[in-house]
Symmetry: D2
């Protein structure tokens, strides 16, 4: 790509927006032309995100609608707002990476139950490409609309993919997932008030979580077999970090070789020698995987660690952008964790 | 005291209310007759505070106004609400321990500037006894209205008291105070959202804080000399805990002896052999003091550690209650810290 | 019990010892006659545990061997040391509550593989009573030797017990367990150094953990059926707290009723209306259980929350002591959580 | 600079080494030729620092002594080891940035008392340039030996410099400093064990700290006036972050203008509109300053926030390297904080 890519960012002041801007401000092929925010229009980026107050973009003013040209829009918006923004921008000839869940599931019937709205643009669900490069890299290169994956599905699907791709028979899939609190967004809530969240952990949405159909959808698309998964998310007192453990009954035992081979050429996935720590991936786009076969119970246990704002959201979005616009896939994306 | 003391608690669902109830539920001389809450009336205590769901009071229902008799009211209310509740209850013959700041400062002129309201009951300011037993024990025993001290003043005044009592000449008093986040209450705010408060610390109210006049007021009453203090509060990522460092230029050097002697008979104050840790006092009514004289700069440096919800609020309130009603001063008040 | 029970505590300076002393110092039926410590003999309790420096036991000196009479010994010792201390004390006519794992598993063959030693007193394994009162209350009352349960088994077995007791057919038992760092003891290690453990979580002992045979042993004793469990422990950045999720394939669906009924008379177990938070049980002997039946996958999902040092260790030990010596079972055992 | 700078790093496995390598691995003008470690020689970087396991340097093996050419050595070594390593490397014609304290103070008499050793190379103390670019930029450009400043002195001196440079009369300087635990290094200690450091804060070295003479030394060199400072360091439960508050009696009141003007052209110092939060600078080389004049007590209160491993250590070392070798001063140095 010769020319500079012009980028607009919708929804600047949340955590995924902040993380995107930390990277985009330094990306050599990108110019951020518009910072769109309904709540903070008129203020500068440095004012609303003091951690970016020495960024080159610091003095840029937030606007209610883009005033300058752009080729690509990142949407860090609520699901309902993304739902209607996407068709409008596509109609204007823009490419889109949508970090919400509005276009992730292929079946429009899933939305009323899991998202609470009827999908108004079902024809775009087919057009949307699920932005998990390790599975859908080629489709991503030519996509107009990327549905950037959820954090839980990213970690869980990368843990399952080597088995799914081989068509291994799987039973009793249990996905137990720990998430840092930033995954719940920037909106304050009683349970995330520091005195109540520190020294605390708890499960939530045991009955029903939006990421269940998202995971099952991709499982079926990759393996050709519909499977139900038992998914339990738990909040732990981390700011960033996600540790997903997948349990699956299977006879397939040579997991380490299978995983090493599947991900041999992936720049952001690594099969580790010992169970991974979330701290190793803080601030990066890495996914660390550790597969273990438990002979006693004939169970594959796969541990997957990501930064929920990194590979789980914004850095994966940059990876998708790099693929869509012909940049080197790894350009400007951190892989060195902030340690300690 | 032969009879059981009947107690009403106003403002149940906040942190000081929860901490009071943790203790009062087990106090052998107390019966909690009314739990008053405007926001949660109709629900049970166990519902609004699950940490108390196996307390003997768990199934007690919250009420908008007391329905049963009581002798003593604890007020865990906003300053403005305490301001008007106090005269009403006093008129009804009740005794009161007020955990707000509405009656702590003697000078009514201070309120508009520091609390944002004109004091409507200035005649009660004289009547109110400042509930710091180590200084005002005898007045507390016979008081009808206790103004329970703020957390910062408690820690700072206990650090200064041995010098003040002796009339030692003091210059350049600097009070640098670290507070856990529970000191800011249960109301959610952006800066106390877990992802922003974890791994963070920052000063606030540098220009003006309500506890400055409260501290200066007591300094003058004890020493007879008006002094200005420079007070800086800093929030640190603790749930509970307060560490106050007081700096004062003075020629008085035998601090350790002075402090040991001053507090020799105090059940809740201890002069430590090494600088105290806040963790040592978690969940207790202790104040740990470590005085150090810095010869190089002719400065007394006194470190004071308390639990901001313990000696800094609710457990000190129970200590005041014990004094007011003739119980043993230490009855039912924890001194063993939760460690680790 | 009329007379005061004389108690010796072996292994004072670790976390389970500290937690025991926090309670025993205030227990009305107990006199702590000896504090045994090999590493800190000669120092006082207040010196080695400053959080207890205002405890009535504060000035008591630690000794290398008990110098005074005692009826009951609590052992907070390494497994290997407990192994040889138990027969010696039993021979001297003492009763014992052993907080180590040295006498928890009935089968002596398990020890070389899981504990790294050959069991030298296999005849005592039969004599030892597993100190989980909700299952073995009657045996505990008359026991001379209590093997106080591990924290993970306590939380997991209380989650499974209602199903096991009914003889419900169970398949594919997965136990995914989060533990606070205090569960790993007081010995420093690189991974538990604050800068590396804060903002971190990770699984460990994926291949093999001592608590697996302990859990399986009790499962078989209760249900009569040998079952294998898949057990994964994960360290999360809590000081205290344990959240265990048990997954089991079963056709039994009326879980809530079953759990409410099973534990209707238990003073320390509560079936919650919503998934429990570890913070609700901090500093208590509570076990909170939340059973959920997932129709989509025919899986029972039971969440269990305890304080790993409370019901998971020292407070359960006090509960056992109360049973063994005829005190009221709940005497002096906290059920109100420190909140926040 | 046309050619690639060859760099050796001594002391790889500690926190300052890890932070240096996070940046140097991506610096376009640098080639890291040797990773020196006595404790971990033979292992690869990725093995000893898993957070760098996808770094370009990951497979590089640690060596006990450099085996390849280098122009510049970064020393992340204990003080005593730096003391003797520096003369040896200088004699070999290497340039050095020493992150230890061995060459920071000009007066050799200070070392026995504050560092516990007699300085063996006092002639090099004069030659060493104190690596605080905002004060000594020109000397740094031509230095052979940089004594990279301590974290506390960096934050405190940048807070005082505008006043010192103007020769403002100052009295009663108090420096109250909060530090994250990473500042104490990677060596485990009981007080930094997670269960004891979480929910804890405490002062240390109240009597005497190495950074006191370091600060006083620079104060005198800048202002020409010897002054004593009262310095109190406090550990708070942060991984990274340092918040220093400086109190000084002075008549100078126009602080904001003075500070804005002093630092107008500094790329890494910013005068903030509100008191800074440590989280804003996490992972960066920033120093945020907030000066406030307290009229009531005639006291200047200056708050200074840095990342103790960033501007307080490794990133400042890279800034010094950039200056010494003619790179752009800001090259490859992060200024965007990791948020949240």
């Amino acid at each position: 790509m010769e020319q500079t890519l012009k980028v607009a960012l919708f929804g600047v002041t949340g955590y995924t927006g902040a993380e995107l801007l930390r990277i985009l401000a330094r990306h050599p092929g990108v110019e951020v032309t518009s910072l769109v925010s309904s709540s903070s229009a008129g203020r500068t980026l440095g004012e609303v995100l003091p951690s970016l107050s020495l960024s080159p973009l610091s003095s840029k003013r937030l606007v209610p609608e883009p005033e300058e040209e752009f080729d690509l829009a990142f949407l860090c918006l609520p699901h309902e707002v993304s739902l209607t923004t996407v068709p409008r921008l596509l109609a204007g000839g823009k490419k889109i990476i949508d970090l919400s869940g509005a276009y992730r599931i292929k079946d429009p019937e899933a939305y009323p139950s899991f998202y609470g709205f009827t999908h108004e643009a079902p024809e775009l669900l087919e057009k949307a490409v699920y932005g998990l490069p390790e599975i859908f890299r080629e489709e991503i290169r030519t996509a107009d609309l990327i549905a950037n994956p959820g954090c839980y599905p990213t970690a869980a699907l990368l843990a399952l993919y080597p088995l799914l791709r081989e068509g291994v028979e799987l039973e009793s899939i249990v996905i137990h997932a720990l998430s840092g609190v930033s995954g719940a967004g920037r909106q304050t809530r009683q349970r995330f008030h520091f005195p109540e969240m520190a020294e605390n952990c708890f499960p939530y949405a045991l009955e029903k979580h939006r990421h269940t159909p998202e995971i099952e959808d991709v499982i079926e698309r990759v393996s050709g077999i519909p499977m139900k998964v038992r998914f339990t998310p738990v909040v732990v007192p981390l700011v960033r970090g996600m540790l997903v453990t997948v349990y699956v009954r299977t006879g397939r035992r040579d997991l380490r070789e299978l995983y090493l081979q599947t991900y041999a050429n992936e720049p952001f996935v690594r099969v580790t020698e010992s169970p991974p720590m979330t701290k190793w991936v803080s601030g990066t786009n890495l996914c660390l995987l550790y597969p273990h076969y438990d002979d006693r119970t004939a169970t594959a246990v796969i541990v997957s660690a990501i930064d929920n704002l990194g590979k789980g959201a914004s850095l994966q979005a940059v990876q998708n952008m790099n693929l869509m616009f012909g940049f080197e896939e790894t350009l400007s994306i951190p892989v060195e964790g902030l340690f300690p």
